[in-house]
């Protein structure tokens, strides 16, 4: 399997695509489509809307490729376009909200059951993780999606969200602690102790 392109590869591909190299453009699109889709779907929970937004993002990227500043990270740039496009769409939908769209907007908060046919144990574990994710704040969920659904590095996320890398690392660490605490009672591999809680929570009966 070929190694995933990194920032220097993106820079090279963007430069080639800018001058009409179809192969370079296709490589960029093929690399980023699953990541953008995963991110957008994790945020809006609507596959059709996610597809539409992925398409919009690439059209925008192509239109702005001539103005792209190579000093910045391509990963952050494309994700910023995706985030802004998603926000615009959500704002638009809120303005023209109809009852049928409440499902999508409600799901934006992170409440969607999975439709994947999992094994019973897996299903329970997935549901537990879904519940745990739902218990997080919007910013915390966004960080997890960028890191684990898109696969961005903390440096990319730092540039994208305009926050110090250390702050993001600390937040990520804190969020993992919250998830651990939430999941501990559901973990089938761990013996259940009556007063068991996460070390971050510092709890005890």
């Amino acid at each position: 399997m070929p190694e995933a392109p990194d920032e220097s590869d993106f820079r090279r591909l963007v430069a080639s695509a800018r001058w009409g190299d179809d192969h370079a453009w296709r490589t960029l699109v093929e690399h980023w489509t699953p990541r953008l889709f995963a991110f957008l779907h994790s945020r809006c929970r609507d596959p059709e809307l996610s597809e539409e937004l992925v398409q919009d993002v690439f059209v925008k990227v192509a239109q702005r490729l001539a103005d792209y500043d190579e000093r910045g990270r391509f990963s952050s740039w494309i994700m910023l376009i995706a985030i802004n496009r998603l926000r615009d769409e959500m704002r638009r939908r809120t303005r023209h909200a109809r009852p049928v769209e409440h499902e999508t907007l409600g799901a934006l908060a992170g409440s969607t059951p999975s439709t994947a046919p999992d094994a019973p144990g897996e299903q329970e574990s997935r549901r537990a993780l879904d519940d745990a994710l739902r218990s997080l704040s919007e910013a915390e969920r966004e960080l997890l999606h960028l890191r684990h659904a898109v696969g961005l590095s903390f440096s990319d996320i730092s540039e994208l969200l305009n926050e110090p890398r250390g702050t993001l690392l600390a937040r990520h660490h804190r969020v993992l602690g919250k998830l651990r605490a939430f999941l501990a009672p559901h973990d089938p591999n761990k013996p259940q102790e009556p007063n068991a809680t996460s070390d971050e929570e510092g709890g005890g009966a």
């Binding site: 009409g20 699109v29 489509t33 192509a62 997935r126 660490h173 993992l176 070390d199």
Partner: protein, 177 residues
């Protein structure tokens, strides 16, 4: 997914943030935090798997989506958009050449009749051009209209629009100035 920056060691307390980065990843900035020490490989792998399953559960064919998006968005690449912009002057040049030719024909053509001169009014005698030339001019005009519409969403074409409007008022160019 891109795992190149995923942490590989077990979780430690927040105190790790204060410690210097003893084993920085290639992307880690100097003097940064120990990313690996702040992670939880097992939980992070679970999250990655969770999001991947979530995406897979949608049933969307991402390869097909990528292929569709690539061909559609490629039309918006600067090389595709600007090329017609450069070529747009070709029809203009052709039109100018034809105009010069028409003037030349007029000058070399038959002089006005004495009757016209006597009346004090200069009446231009019609020039009969071959049908093929007229058809070419028509085609050129139509081609320009199509090209103009294709680039009308670009900025900085106002002058060009006005130039076209003055040349071809019947072509309905949108001149804002």
């Amino acid at each position: 997914m891109n795992f190149r920056n995923h942490p590989e060691t077990s979780d430690v307390s927040l105190q790790a943030m204060a410690s210097p980065d003893t084993n920085p990843s290639p992307e880690a900035p100097k003097g940064g935090f120990d990313e690996a020490a702040l992670g939880d490989p097992q939980l992070e792998a679970q999250l990655t798997q969770h999001f991947a399953s979530d995406t897979a559960a949608t049933g969307v064919d991402l390869s097909a989506l990528a292929a569709r998006v690539a061909s559609l968005s490629a039309e918006e690449l600067p090389s595709r958009v600007y090329r017609p912009r450069v070529r747009r002057f070709a029809p203009l040049q052709a039109a100018a050449l034809i105009a010069i030719g028409l003037v030349g024909l007029r000058l070399l053509g038959p002089s006005p009749t004495p009757a016209n001169l006597d009346s004090g009014v200069l009446v231009a005698s019609p020039i009969s051009l071959p049908a093929t030339v007229l058809a070419d001019v028509d085609l050129l005009t139509r081609d320009m209209v199509v090209r103009e519409r294709a680039i009308s969403n670009l900025s900085g074409v106002a002058d060009f629009e006005c130039e076209l409007e003055s040349l071809f008022p019947e072509a309905e160019f949108r001149c804002d100035s």
